[in-house]
Assembly symmetry: C2
Homo-oligomer: 120 residues x 2
Amino acid sequence: MTIQEAAAASGLSIDTIRFYEKAGMTPPVPRDARGWRTFPPSLVEWLTNLARLRATGMPMVEMQRFARLVHATPSLEIIAERLAILRGHNVCLARRRAELEAAQEYLDHKIAVYSGKDTR
Amino acid sequence: MTIQEAAAASGLSIDTIRFYEKAGMTPPVPRDARGWRTFPPSLVEWLTNLARLRATGMPMVEMQRFARLVHATPSLEIIAERLAILRGHNVCLARRRAELEAAQEYLDHKIAVYSGKDTR
DNA sequence: TGTTGACTTGGAGCTACTCCAGGTCGCTAA
DNA sequence: TTAGCGACCTGGAGTAGCTCCAAGTCAACA
């Protein structure tokens, strides 16, 4: 698979894939005779995972830590660490969602005021 | 009011307030004899508004547009424009919340898998 | 007369990309 | 055979939205 296809399949942009590789968030990507990156299915799957983690707003440093853990030989501790990262991030997400909800309430209120639909 | 008090009152950091002023997102802040910024209540209120808009994830360019409209002499068109910005942003917010919700579902699933609570 | 503490400025650094210039390589068309 | 095309490569600059820092000023206090 070329980088273009990997991008289409994972939902990341071509630039982002190269950036993630440089940042050590993927295992080293194999190259063909021309020096082009070739993406085996397992790598595309991992990129898709990264895209989802990014969509949750996980910061890069944590994605890097997670990547190292995922590509390490798994042991009980390593799996526990992965879980800890995900659980910790889940808490952040919940907080973020609550913030957004509050923000939207504020916006709705503002809109009501500007529309003259405010009762005060 | 000093910048420190304005920061405490609005929820923005001192640096962010200075940054917002430079970026034209506030009217010019009056200075005392020493050259220190002095914040009248109306300005603190506006900073608080900016903090809330930021919390909704409104991009800077839009906050700038909105600031110009709010500090212009109001007319029917200007109020309509303000409303349009807020409404447009509300749509973005709703989308963002949906994305976060999907992301959290994915995370929950991942956590279930790693915890061995997955049934598949 | 220092020293402290709150402010000032300009500018560098950060995250997570995104874009760009300049170059290589294999393929097709003239 | 040569010219052009399109997909890729690299290193580096640019972006948003802050955040931090160094160096300087000024009033007040010991």
